[in-house]
Symmetry: none
């Protein structure tokens, strides 16, 4: 499986100190406001990003493929240079890594939703009334205290947030070709755990047994009386950033999902910032100890999902205010992009290309503005997301010439 | 091995006389001057190229891949429509073709440097004090007169230029998975010839034996008393231009390297011009006898390597002055591009896209200027280098419609 677009026989230069910072504004790309014709990014006050654009190569990233709307996992894998189609991993593995479970090859992970089931066994609320973090945690603790693991299998059950939890099975001969039990809408019964290949049949039985136990343990609970499972996936480790790019890498992200996908490619995850400001503070703290820094800001995506055009523009402006602290670190290469678009008008992730800048002494600048219009006319053209790392390494002069 | 991006079942039109001229300005692409924001090409006086751009489709070529800096071999193979990653050949083969050795399949070629080694066997000068062409030739002649080839193997030794020479072995069962003996810096001993796969072990021994003989033959020489070998490669012929495109092709290039890569794809190499003016004269002489003309100008690359921004701009302008003689030939398609960028500010080949024009009656023009900015906004977008030949054939109306 080739993850990268770098030729096998291309050599990394043996360099020290050419530092790369990758700033991801989640869901950065947008659609123009009907009144102004300007996108969220183009409407935001971004003097610092605009100044950075003036010394950057500009372009648009296509994260997965034309017309393909990426989830967060593929979106980030692509930015990290891993082919998001051939290296697709299940959401379960991403979530398990995100909550800090130290997965081993062969582990099977799934996402769990706390849910409400009525006397007839029909799902009446797929999120158990959206419990608070504290209430959700109590329910998961209650299950963990009583559940009996299958013979020879280690079961890990971790609360994630609100109604969400993660299940991991560790043991020999497990399989994860399993269909979701979440029926996707209320009024239906949970789907029994079903293996879609024979090698996963035993695992299906084990997990059904665990879910049945959960029903008994939570029988008296008024709302959260069942778990729905989805995103079954088996963990197999990836060639790491260090192996592939010769880069010691660290991830700075507030949300577990993004720390998870970073740790999947071998980035160090050290420190959990609670805000944008703390995100930059953790970056500053680490700076100098690594070659590559992945810095994640979530708010533009969240506000895009809310359909809040102005809010998303403000969320982008809020990162712009912090940018001088990042440029003050003076990395050789500073990239600003997104993992996908989340246009406020669309209220969902979308397939639209994502504005991208690569600031470096070796950039070919074309405009003093960071936005969809400027990036569309930029020197880089439309870049498959998985090629971004080649460009990052090139601008850091970390690649040898290819062929004589 | 797929060399081209043309579908297998795409048919060539049976035409006569739709001529294509490909003009390569080596290292054409640049970076903007900090004072003016204009690249070398954009700073050069190029009234003729600008007029040509006004009747051309413009675009940017990505020779090998995003972020990948091509050597001359991959850069040209890509322009000729051959996948430069899957058809990588060693520099030894290119050099051997460049000095006019008629390689056969299985031949193993290497580049040699005349070098100076001291009494302790340590390299003190990797270029033997850069001998003149004449002095270099004398040394190589001296070795050739005395060297004894291994049993059953034919050895060809040709002086190339100054301190450089080419070695070719012909025989059964040779292999070229051999590491360079050049230690890459002075103060170290030459690396013994080492096979990196078992099939090349016997060849490694033979070549070590030859290099040992060279040491004896040149023992009394004050400076050029050893050969360092690198770029070992085994020749396997490529499908030719004639087979693939139905084009009788000729190459006009002052430097052996470029004649070599052209002959690798079956172009005729006839005439060695000594200057830009002679290059155009040789083209004029051949014109009418072939379908495809590859014309190479080296100076922009050389001056880019020197870091001479103004000199590179002048070298481009010097080609512009000769352009009317090329347009006067009135080819159906005239392409002007480069094999890679060599920005004067960077002083090396780089990964940056290369400005490209395709002049034809069927062009979609967008600007009356030839430069990075104009080409970035051109109709062709960013073109993988290996797709250029498809576009050349298309603009010459030499391809049938694909499918009914």
């Amino acid at each position: 499986m080739t993850h990268t677009s770098l030729p096998d026989d291309l050599t990394l230069r043996d360099v020290d100190g050419e530092t790369i910072i990758l700033v991801v504004l989640d869901g950065l790309g947008g659609l123009p406001h009907p009144d102004t014709g300007r996108t969220e990014l183009e409407s935001a006050s971004t003097p610092n990003l605009d100044a950075l654009a003036a010394r950057s190569s500009l372009g648009m990233i296509m994260p997965v493929g034309e017309g393909i709307t990426p989830g967060s996992g593929p979106g980030h894998l692509s930015l990290f240079g891993y082919d998001p189609v051939n290296s697709m991993i299940g959401r379960g593995v991403l979530s398990a890594l995100g909550v800090g479970i130290d997965l081993r090859p062969g582990d099977v992970a799934a996402r769990l939703n706390l849910a409400t089931i009525d006397g007839q066994g029909v799902v009446t609320d797929r999120r158990a009334g959206r419990p608070s973090d504290e209430d959700g945690r109590k329910i998961v603790d209650k299950v963990r205290a009583s559940i009996r693991p299958p013979d020879g299998v280690e079961v890990t059950l971790i609360h994630e947030k609100e109604h969400r939890a993660v299940l991991v099975l560790r043991g020999d001969g497990l399989g994860a070709e399993l269909a979701d039990t979440d029926p996707q809408r209320t009024g239906l019964r949970p789907v029994p755990v079903t293996a879609t290949d024979p090698a996963s049949a035993a695992t299906a039985e084990m997990i059904q047994g665990l879910l049945d136990q959960v029903g008994e343990i939570l029988a008296e609970e008024p709302r959260a009386n069942a778990f729905l499972a989805r995103g079954f996936a088996q963990f197999s480790p990836y060639p790491s950033f260090q192996e592939r790019y010769g880069l010691g890498a660290v991830a700075v992200a507030k949300y577990p999902m993004y720390r998870g996908v970073a740790s999947l490619v071998g980035m160090t995850v050290d420190g959990v910032p609670g805000s944008n400001e703390e995100t930059v503070a953790v970056l500053e703290e680490h700076y100098g100890a690594y070659d590559f820094y992945f810095v994640h800001f979530k708010d533009p995506d969240s506000l895009g999902h809310d359909g809040d055009f102005d809010g998303k523009a403000e969320a982008i402006a809020a990162v712009d205010v912090l940018l001088p602290r990042i440029t003050a670190l003076n990395p050789e290469v500073l990239i600003v992009t997104g993992d996908h678009s989340t246009p406020a008008l669309f209220r969902e992730h979308s397939w639209h290309h994502v504005p991208t800048l690569i600031a470096s002494d070796w950039a070919r600048p074309s405009a003093a503005e960071f936005g969809e219009t400027a990036c569309r006319g930029g020197d880089l053209g439309v870049i498959p997301g998985k090629d971004l790392m080649s460009l990052a390494l090139a601008h850091a002069v970390r690649l040898e010439k290819y062929g004589a």
